[in-house]
């Protein structure tokens, strides 16, 4: 961790110093603390990651560094200049890419670049040379005459980057540049960032909500709820958990049962399901035989010590900060259990050669898969892969243009309403009525599903109780923390006891603790035979699924269990590919085939 050095000691080693920053916002009459006591420094010529879940204050901090917001207390100096006092000077020497890239969608690639070159005062005779470099770097040379709005997400991101680089900045600020774009583009962006650092000596500060990106940074500032948890090299962070992380292969019991059993045992920081294994983080270093003994997981061969990941560190730090915060969540799953009809091998969702056309564009190009009862089934893909379209067709919100869809035995073409009564749907961004309180939301949604009288009362009580919302029952849902909003949305989707639960990007942006709790509930539901279908663009979340399909450009690139999907891409060089490696390999395969076809 970096301690605050004395003022005035001007070390050119740092391009950015953040000292004692506090920032408040007014929401109605309430004063919300966005940042409190934030100190950090960014070294010259390295990539520093500003990492934390949504609501950590990353964007607020980024905007302050760029001179778009003024801190209520404290000081930020960029390249020795005080930002609050001299924003124009600072803005002339930094590059800043906002979350949505700041592109004019009705301007072409070239026109966007020209605009930013004009605004940054790049002399006309320097431009063509710089443009050429940037086009080569981003691979956009072939698209200079295309409208920015017609580019794919990854290309927009690269154009946004090129625009901030028309005049080489000393410090480059990237605000959530990698969120929501596909892993291939993400990887390319990282390659560009490192090239900039090496070839042009630019210092980079990059904010992200993906914890796994920490490992790609040279230094990491870790944030949570307006505080800085620490700043260090990522290896230093994960070094703190030496010999404390293990992978368990359950032998006698299911991995979900095992997780439930050991999750709350003393000495356990974290236990999550990854593929067919369980990842365990302990609060002190242990040998594998000690793990076997302590947690009763069969033989030593089923325990494997693994290097710590950044997420483990984050969880450990969070638990240190808020000891005893972990409450035992008793989800009364009996209430939502349905007896299996004819064994759990029944296919409850059948999708056969389903297509969906918008104009002359096929968003979904003839996909087929089946989902068994009681399964957690994932739909994985980047933005624009066709996940949401598929989902909407399955929920009966959008008719298919061709093919056969049946949900819970009902053909959606003829009996969409009947099928809908048996499904629960939790939309992206939770779709709650923000002005209504928690209880009012529950009452409204339950009556929308036709619950009334005693039964409605019971179900609302059940939701308040088992999702620990009772304390917040009379709080307007707009004032709920993100994790609570998510719980409320899930409770609302479950009140009519659906057989199938659809979750659209359920955990995007919530912090890892809330995400774990969420998945625990989902696991419980699956244990009680509710079928769960989930879309996500978090590659790692795919590992929590029983089976999944990976989609790109409206097609299915692969399906099966996470292990089976990954196994296809095992190579001598990469014997244990991550879901992200697998995804990238699949995309590359697909593109090769496409290229061969044309």
């Amino acid at each position: 961790m970096i301690r605050d050095q004395a003022h005035g000691g001007k070390t050119p080693e740092y391009v950015l110093r953040i000292e004692g920053i506090e920032k408040y916002f007014l929401a109605g009459k309430q004063r919300i603390t966005a940042l409190k006591g934030v100190n950090a420094k960014v070294r010259r010529g390295v990539v520093t990651g500003l990492i934390g879940p949504d609501g950590a204050g990353k964007t607020t901090l980024m905007r302050m560094i760029a001179g778009l917001l003024v801190p209520d207390r404290g000081e930020i100096s960029v390249l020795g200049m005080n930002v609050a006092r001299d924003p124009l000077k600072v803005q002339a020497s930094i590059g800043y890419m906002p979350q949505r890239f700041g592109l004019y969608e009705d301007l072409t690639v070239q026109e966007n670049m020209d605009l930013y070159a004009d605004l940054q005062g790049v002399p006309k005779d320097h431009r063509s040379e710089r443009y050429e470099e940037l086009m080569k770097m981003t691979g956009l040379a072939a698209f200079t005459r295309r409208l920015a709005g017609k580019l794919s997400g990854g290309m927009k991101q690269k154009l946004g980057l090129a625009c901030t680089l028309v005049k080489p900045p000393e410090l480059l600020l990237l605000d959530e540049a990698t969120v929501g774009v596909d892993p291939v583009s993400r990887r390319e962006l990282w390659a560009i960032v490192y090239r900039l650092v090496e070839q042009e000596g630019i210092s980079v500060l990059l904010s992200t909500a993906y914890l796994d990106e920490a490992e790609r940074c040279q230094e990491v500032i870790l944030m949570h709820e307006g505080h800085v948890l620490g700043q260090d090299a990522p290896s230093q962070f994960s070094g703190q958990l030496n010999k404390q992380t293990f992978m368990l292969s359950p032998e006698a019991e299911s991995r979900r049962r095992l997780q439930e059993r050991i999750r709350l045992m003393p000495g356990v920081i974290d236990a999550i399901i990854l593929g067919d294994k369980l990842r365990l983080v302990t609060d002190q270093p242990l040998e594998t035989d000690q793990v076997v003994q302590r947690f009763g997981v069969g033989s030593e061969s089923s325990v494997q010590a693994v290097p710590a990941r950044f997420e483990d560190v984050f969880i450990a730090l969070l638990k240190q900060r808020t000891p005893g915060d972990e409450k035992v969540a008793h989800l009364e799953t009996e209430k939502i259990s349905h007896p299996p009809h004819n064994g759990s091998e029944k296919d409850i969702i059948v999708v056969e050669k389903v297509k969906r056309r918008f104009g002359d564009f096929y968003a979904v190009k003839g996909i087929s898969f089946t989902v068994r009862q009681g399964e957690i089934f994932g739909l994985l893909g980047a933005n624009g892969a066709g996940k949401s379209t598929t989902f909407r067709m399955l929920c009966g919100l959008l008719p298919a243009s061709g093919g056969k869809l049946s949900v819970a035995g009902k053909n959606l073409r003829f009996a969409a309403a009947q099928a809908r009564a048996r499904i629960g749907y939790m939309a992206q961004k939770f779709s709650l009525y923000v002005g209504l309180t928690v209880r009012q939301n529950l009452r409204f949604i339950s009556s929308a599903y036709g619950l009334s009288g005693q039964r409605q009362k019971e179900q609302i009580e059940w939701a308040l109780d088992s999702f620990e919302l009772a304390r917040m029952a009379d709080t307007p849902s707009k004032d709920l923390p993100l994790g609570y909003k998510q719980r409320l949305a899930l409770a609302a989707a479950l009140m009519h006891e659906p057989e199938i639960l659809f979750l659209d990007e359920p955990t995007s942006g919530v912090d890892p603790l809330a995400r774990r709790e969420f998945w625990r509930r989902i696991n419980r539901l699956a244990e009680s035979n509710v079928t769960i279908m989930v879309t996500t663009h978090f590659m790692e979340e795919a590992e929590y699924c029983d089976r999944l399909v990976i989609m790109a450009q409206g097609e299915i690139l692969g399906q099966g269990t996470p292990e089976a999907v990954k196994a296809r891409f095992r190579t001598p060089r990469n014997p244990d590919p991550s879901m992200e490696d697998t995804f990238i390999a699949m995309i590359e395969d697909y593109e090769e085939k496409e290229a061969a076809r044309t």
């Binding site: 003024v70 124009l88 803005q91 979350q99 592109l103 004019y104 605009l115 005062g121």
Partner: protein, 382 residues
């Protein structure tokens, strides 16, 4: 890596940046039909709607005439109503029937000729009539009343001449008839309407395009470049000024060609006055966008705080001098008021310098004040 120092920080305007902003804005205007629709289609629709649809002239008004006792005098009087294109008279014999017709809104007024109408006029030289008008629409009622008086007055005059007997002729009558009969209401409505349309276009154009930049996140990226607030303001005002003047030209052409409104003043006065007003309206739009950062809110606010006051308080339809004193004072801060007055003068009366100079000075003051407020309120901050 050397970073070239920015030239001319602080003061002044950087021409390269301003040009860049204007070029960007022009591309957007050409490619996005919404601003073209606001500048050109909206005035056309409004002009057609108001030019053809709204008329303050009351014509072919159904009116009940109660004739309690038929006589030469009454039929002579009735002929006056029959010949008038303002009335469609219905003759009834008793007041009850007429009242019933009024309640059912089959007629908008009643003229009551008492039994002794014919006698009185011969004996006393005075012929009182009873007039009832439907006061639900006060404006129409007043016009109606004037028309009835007109017909009556003309008849009295004629009778007086024919019979060679002096009659009491109400004085006010002539004035009213002259105002409505000689002038089509369209002639003063259309110039006023142009002012209202220009308010809407000006405010809507800038408010919407700036809000769009907020919505799409481009404003944030713009703010972080070394661009200065005054350059952003000019970069918005210049292109939309040109658009707005285009809309103005179109409106003037429509007014003179389609609606045959005379243009008696000089074109350059019209141009100068419109420029001043357009700058005011565009600044109002910019000011709105400082507060409203979504297109939806910006659109609503622009309509409520610029269009409606311009519609109601500019004197375009509702006469300012007949408003309560407080409201009259309030109209002085409505820029459209001065523009309406200027346009009506330039179109209908010609270059009446005292009015034009007064309105022109007021508009200049408002443009400067609004620009200053925008400059002060618009910050390079989120």
């Amino acid at each position: 890596m050397k970073v070239p120092q920015k030239r001319g920080v602080r003061k002044g305007i950087n021409i390269m940046r301003l040009k860049g902003l204007i070029r960007k804005e022009s591309y957007q205007i050409v490619r996005d039909p919404s601003s073209i629709a606001i500048a050109f289609v909206l005035p056309m629709i409004l002009l057609f709607l108001f030019g053809y649809g709204v008329s303050l002239d009351a014509k072919y008004v159904p009116i009940a005439i109660v004739v309690e006792h038929q006589s030469n005098e009454t039929s002579d009087f009735l002929a006056g109503f029959r010949q008038s294109r303002y009335f469609v008279p219905v003759i009834v014999t008793d007041i009850q029937t007429a009242e019933q017709a009024m309640i059912e809104r089959r007629v908008d007024g009643i003229v009551w000729l008492r039994e002794d109408f014919g006698k009185k006029i011969l004996n006393t030289g005075d012929a009182p009539i009873g007039v009832f008008v439907n006061g639900v629409d006060a404006n129409r009622a007043r016009i109606l009343e004037g028309y009835v008086r007109g017909v009556w007055g003309k008849w009295l005059e004629r009778t007086s001449i024919e019979s060679g007997r002096p009659l009491h002729i109400p004085v006010k009558v002539k004035e009213r008839i002259w105002f409505n009969a000689e002038m089509r209401s369209r002639n003063f409505l259309v110039p006023g309407l142009i002012a209202v349309i220009m308010t809407l276009i000006g405010a809507l154009l800038t408010a919407m395009v700036v809000a769009r930049e907020w919505e799409r996140g481009t404003m944030e990226a713009l703010m972080v470049t070394p661009v200065q607030v005054r350059e952003i303001i000019l970069g918005k005002i210049i292109p939309y000024f040109i658009m707005g003047m285009g809309g103005m030209t179109l409106s003037v052409i429509m007014a003179t060609w389609f609606f045959n409104v005379p243009l008696r003043g000089s074109l350059w006065v019209l141009f100068a006055g419109s420029s001043l007003f357009l700058i005011t309206a565009l600044s109002m739009g910019l000011l709105i966008s400082v507060v409203a950062k979504s297109q939806f809110v910006a659109g609503q606010v622009a309509i409520i705080v610029t269009f409606l006051p311009a519609f109601i308080l500019s004197g375009f339809i509702f006469d300012i001098s007949s408003m309560p004193a407080i409201i009259q004072t309030l109209t002085h801060v409505i820029a459209a008021r001065y523009f309406v007055s200027m346009l009506q003068t330039v179109f209908l009366a010609g270059d009446v310098w005292p009015i034009i100079i007064y309105d022109g000075l007021a508009l200049t003051a408002m443009a400067l004040i609004f620009l200053m407020i925008v400059k002060k309120r618009m910050k390079k901050r989120l």
